[in-house]
């Protein structure tokens, strides 16, 4: 049973979903997809976005159906402890790889844009520190932090979009369909690792204070996040569609706003806005660290703090090995596309099945217990009647 005060509210779930849906995708995905698919990246992203929103719908349904138990408890009740441990090990591994990818992209974003003379190894350490701190925290703290930061993130996003919207010639995003549907589908599919962020919501199952608005809030958050990503990709496509060769990882995320800003004499205000916006990516990284630690915590009988430290250290080591984020991205595209796509769809479906089964089981138990209670009540009633009758008889006698 998840303690009542440890749960997150619907508003906090909204912000978490928005951040999950937007952070990683805006950071690098538009650049990657634009390089591969040119203008048709918009179509690819839209298609993948729809799939992802369907997955979000399934996750939200699971959240609504889930009894107030953690997902691990539900899985172990229905599938056995060993199966649950295996499943959660897979979850942890997947979330951890997402964390690695995200951390790599954050590192390259800052190193390209702001601190070009820094060593990327040194960069990684504070980021790993952040993951350790958030990883050992609570879901409630993450929910509150994202809720507190949401207005700032939203304002920064909005400002950036206004800036981009005013400075970019959107007619440049045409024409679509140069690559063909097959190519769009296959190339979008290759980037499946950048999608499926809502799968990580399994760690919030049973820990959400549900209201009538929970589903609506979740869907709105997901749609808003998808629209934000889409708008960003449209802007990037309109700006760089003919000169994709110029796009460098990291730098051109800000390049578009830089272009829109025009006069650099007045300072790069957009960089400050991007820094504010990047907080959402950091929160997302923290959420993945938390999700990894939570999953591992169910598998290994080790303290959460130690697990969190271990995850931080492992993250650092991997980032040390993968000095080049491009290699990391290539690895994700080459080897993780299929598993990531399957994971993206399988997890929400699995969560939905498990929670529905658990609910049914609970209902059955309730029915059984109520039947038992009824039986007991009727028995006692009969006994009472008997006694009454006996009493009446006695009285009659």
């Amino acid at each position: 049973m998840v303690e009542t005060e440890k749960r997150i509210s619907t508003a906090q779930l909204f912000t978490v979903i928005f951040i999950l849906g937007m952070g990683l995708k805006i950071l690098m995905l538009p650049v990657l997809m634009l390089k591969v698919l040119g203008r048709d990246s918009v179509l690819g992203l839209a298609a993948m976005g729809v799939v992802e929103l369907l997955c979000l719908g399934a996750m939200l349904a699971a959240i609504m159906l889930s009894p107030e138990k953690s997902f691990y408890d539900l899985v172990s009740e229905l599938a056995g402890k060993i199966a649950a441990k295996i499943i959660f090990t897979v979850f942890a591994a997947f979330f951890f790889f997402k964390l690695v990818l995200l951390a790599g992209e954050v590192r390259v974003f800052f190193s390209e844009n702001l601190l070009q003379n820094f060593s990327s190894t040194v960069y990684s350490i504070p980021l790993c520190g952040l993951c350790v701190v958030i990883g050992m925290g609570t879901l409630r703290a993450i929910g509150r932090a994202s809720q507190f930061l949401f207005p700032f993130i939203a304002a920064a996003t909005l400002c950036l979009f206004v800036l981009i919207g005013m400075g970019v010639d959107f007619s440049e995003m045409f024409p679509f369909g140069e690559y063909g549907i097959k190519s769009i589908a296959s190339d979008s599919f290759k980037h499946a690792m950048w999608f499926g962020d809502y799968s990580s919501l399994v760690v919030v199952l049973g820990a959400v204070k549900r209201t009538k608005r929970t589903v609506a809030a979740g869907v709105v958050a997901g749609v808003l996040a998808s629209l934000a990503v889409m708008f960003y990709l449209l802007g990037l496509t309109a700006s760089f569609s003919n000169v994709c060769y110029l796009i460098r990882f990291g730098q051109n995320v800000t390049g578009m706003s830089h272009y829109a800003l025009g006069d650099v004499m007045q300072g790069r205000l957009d960089v400050m806005l991007f820094c504010l916006w990047t907080v959402s990516v950091l929160v997302e990284a923290g959420f993945y660290a938390f999700a990894t630690v939570s999953c591992l915590n169910n598998v290994l009988p080790v303290k959460k703090e130690i697990l969190s430290l271990a995850v931080g250290v492992a993250l650092f080591v991997l980032l040390l090995l993968w000095q080049s984020t491009s290699d990391l991205q290539a690895f994700a595209v080459k080897y993780f596309a299929v598993p990531a796509f399957i994971f993206q769809i399988a997890v929400p479906v699995f969560a939905l099945i498990i929670t529905a089964a658990a609910r049914r089981r609970k209902k059955k138990n309730l029915d059984a217990s109520s039947a038992l209670q009824n039986a007991a009540a009727s028995k006692s009633e009969a006994a009472f009647c008997d006694a009454k009758e006996k009493g009446a008889e006695c009285e009659a006698e």
Binding site: V264, K304, E305
Partner: protein, 469 residues
């Protein structure tokens, strides 16, 4: 886990975080002493022998943002080498964070400029929003030197000049990204606004108040400016014999040549960009004089924004400089240029010839539609322009709302139509699709794009001018 242990772990994490922060490469802390800020970068030459010149703001120990800039030059086998040599020569690291303008020297080839700008952008030295200009009559190095001498504070003069033109004048501007983006489009052509150095001696001999010294504003100065403009253009004509177009000024003569019996002449006041600055305009001019004087007197020049553009594309490696009329045509269809002064000259109003009617653009919307009609590619420009008359005394005329307003609107519409038609004609003649017609068909009319022939495109121009009072 006990609370004390938790606290211990937390403390440990904080301590580690602090250590990490302390480990960050402190030795490479950049200091103001070892950095200079580049604001304008000029590139001359071709690959194999590149010369870069940069206007640099150098911090000096004094208060305020007083004069602290210099021009540095370096050469190298490639642009990267030249930039490296620039830093070596300066003995300082050049910070390109505030680089606002890149100037390409006269005659720069298409392949070179493409490579240079691509390199500068992909290396992060030049942001996508940096302005690109073409030095029509001089090397970029001369241009930057002149720019340096122009302003007192001199750190941002050229950048401000272009930025102001973009926001306040009816001229076209190009950024690094826009240039490359349009160059790589199916049209394969891109425009660069020209800037040039104007001989000051000749102007002053003729009593020219000149563009940089406050021309424009009042009607007198307009007239004066017109005169000067034509004089200057004539002079230049003689200087560059056989060249296609006149540069600054010369609207009247040019228009008369092109439009036959039409009396009006219109155009953007690109040259007047500095006048619009008011005080600063005159300030710059005086500085320009000062610096020219300091030059030694032999070659007195000053910076002007020519109302012409250079276009790259077609089969040519060298840029083609458009004449004033074609330039204006390009500007009319440019959706990003929505402000500035436009004027009519020698208009017959109420039986009298008014030498100049100037109006300010209050808004402009350009719609370009492409379709195939009867097997012909048809491009339609619908340009809606809102103007506010600068000469308010015309509005006082009782006939203004009856006849005069309509007439003026018609006159302005005719100017737009002529200018744009001339630009289209130039495009067809030169074979350079600088108006992006092919790209338009490629984007919105696939059918027309398949067998596209620039010379066969039928262009309809439907201007609509509304004079706001």
């Amino acid at each position: 886990m006990k609370r004390s242990k938790k606290i211990l772990i937390y403390k440990l994490s904080c301590f580690l975080f602090a250590i990490v922060l302390l480990m960050l490469p402190q030795r490479s802390l950049p200091q103001s002493d070892i950095q200079v800020l580049a604001t304008v970068l000029g590139i001359d030459g071709t690959n194999g022998d590149v010369m870069v010149s940069a206007q640099l703001a150098v911090p000096v120990a004094q208060t305020g943002d007083g004069k602290a800039s210099t021009v540095a030059k370096a050469t190298g086998g490639s642009i990267s080498e030249a930039l490296e040599n620039l830093e070596i020569g300066m003995g300082r690291r050049v910070n390109f964070g505030h680089l606002s303008t890149v100037a390409a020297g006269k005659g720069m080839l298409l392949s070179d400029i493409k490579e240079f700008v691509s390199y500068l952008m992909s290396s992060g030295k030049v942001g996508p929003g940096a302005y690109l200009v073409y030095c029509a009559q001089s090397t970029a190095s001369d241009f930057i030197e002149q720019a340096q001498k122009m302003g007192e504070s001199s750190d941002a003069e050229v950048g401000n000049f272009i930025a102001f033109n973009k926001s306040g004048n009816h001229v076209t501007t190009a950024t690094a990204l826009k240039f490359l983006q349009t160059l790589h489009s199916t049209s394969g052509a891109a425009c660069l606004p020209c800037v040039q150095l104007e001989d000051e001696n000749s102007d002053s001999e003729q009593g020219d108040t000149s563009v940089g010294e406050g021309r424009g504003g009042g009607s007198d100065s307009q007239e004066q400016g017109e005169e000067n403009g034509s004089q200057t253009s004539e002079k230049r004509k003689s200087e560059q014999e056989g060249k296609e177009a006149e540069k600054s000024g010369g609207e009247n003569a040019q228009n008369e040549e092109q439009s036959g019996d039409e009396k009006e002449s219109g155009g953007s006041s690109a040259k007047n960009s500095q006048d619009e600055n008011g005080d600063s305009g005159s300030g710059k001019a005086s500085n320009g004089k000062k610096s020219s004087g300091g030059n030694g007197g032999g070659e007195k020049k000053k910076l002007v924004a020519a109302d012409s553009i250079a276009v790259y594309g077609g089969d040519k490696e060298e840029p083609t400089v458009l004449n004033t009329l074609a330039t204006r045509g390009v500007v009319w269809q440019d959706t990003h240029s929505n402000y500035g002064l436009v004027e009519l000259r020698n208009v017959l109003i109420d039986g009298q010839t008014v030498p100049s009617v100037s109006a300010r653009l209050a808004g402009k919307s350009v719609k370009k539609s492409v379709k195939v009609i009867n097997g012909e590619n048809v491009l339609t420009y619908k340009i809606k322009v809102k103007l506010k008359l600068d000469d308010s005394h015309l509005c006082v005329n009782p006939d203004f709302f009856g006849i005069l307003k309509d007439k003026l609107e018609k006159e302005f519409e005719s100017v737009i139509r002529n200018n744009l038609a001339f630009a289209v004609q130039t495009s067809k003649e030169t074979g350079i699709d600088f108006l992006g017609i092919r790209d338009r068909f490629h984007k919105f009319c696939r059918k027309g794009a398949h067998n596209f022939d620039l010379t066969a495109v039928v262009v309809h121009i439907e201007p609509k001018v509304i004079i706001q009072t």
